[in-house]
Amino acid sequence: MTFEIDNIELHFKDKRILNGIYLKAETGKITSILGRNGSGKSCLIDIAFGILKAKYCNIRIDNKPQKKKLYQTKKATFLPQYHYTPNRAKIASVFKLFKVKWNDFIEEFPEFSNYKNSKFNQLSGGQRRIIEIYLILKKASEIILLDETFSNISPLYIEKIKQLIAIEKKQKVIILTDHNYQDVIDISDDIYLLKNGCTKLIKNITELEDYNYLNSGSLN
């Protein structure tokens, strides 16, 4: 499957946020979006999923334009940068709603085995984030959009999540954003830099320094 998004124009009042976007993602590849704070990464992901309305937006899946919002097609799932699970929902109930097996989760994260009947608001922010990421990665869908994937996650869990993403990419289109550029570079097949409302496909990692996303010498 190929997923393409282009011709996006987004303004907040008089401020132009996005205006020259082209992004292509494919099954079997992890496509990442890097950019400074406020560059519009989250807006782009929100527009792609259909929860933010842009003035113009073209989304194509396998070259076919999508008229419906992506979330209504049920082809895509989305990890927002905030906690999306209801505070008072039982963890086990949400696993059932997402049709994700609790036992598979416990195999990966045995330290969570006592939390099956807990509610989401009884977890720490990091624990909750891990469950939320797992649910999104394992939910049946063809496209996964991940916003600020590794935020609030400890290094050991980041490695585990990177492994899970690498497994899921075999049958899914994965698009992710994060500020932790080393993890992003490590896992990505394609990287786009979002700057001045436009995307630039990064062909050589050193371009991230050339475009002033990273300080020179950061990649050494």
Binding site: Q72, K74, F78, P86, S93
Partner: protein
């Protein structure tokens, strides 16, 4: 579809308490007219929707979108569920105390 309905019920749960309070209020005021109650509840639900989308509460709707449920579908189904409960509740009250 079944999972969507279960998740909408989950969203409706906190509203149920307020719905019953409104029903009881109309009963106490001796105006348990089903149509009137349903119109009032529709307006209150519209107001609730407005408050949610204009505040951080909007983020709570993302969970339902991940499950493929649009805002309109979510609030419409909540209204239908509540209308059925309200109808049965008020008819029962009228039957018992008429």
């Amino acid at each position: 579809m079944n999972n969507q309905l279960i998740s909408i019920f989950h969203f409706y749960k906190p509203f149920l308490k307020w719905s019953v309070i409104i029903n009881l209020l109309f009963v106490l005021l001796k105006t348990p007219d089903v149509i009137l109650v349903l119109i009032v509840k529709f307006l209150l639900l519209l107001f609730t929707y407005y408050i949610i989308i204009e505040t951080k509460g909007k983020q709570k709707l993302t969970f339902y979108k991940i499950l493929g449920i649009s805002d309109i579908k979510l609030f419409l189904v909540v209204y239908v569920i509540d209308a059925i409960i309200t109808f049965i509740f008020l008819k029962l009250i009228i039957y018992l105390f008429a």
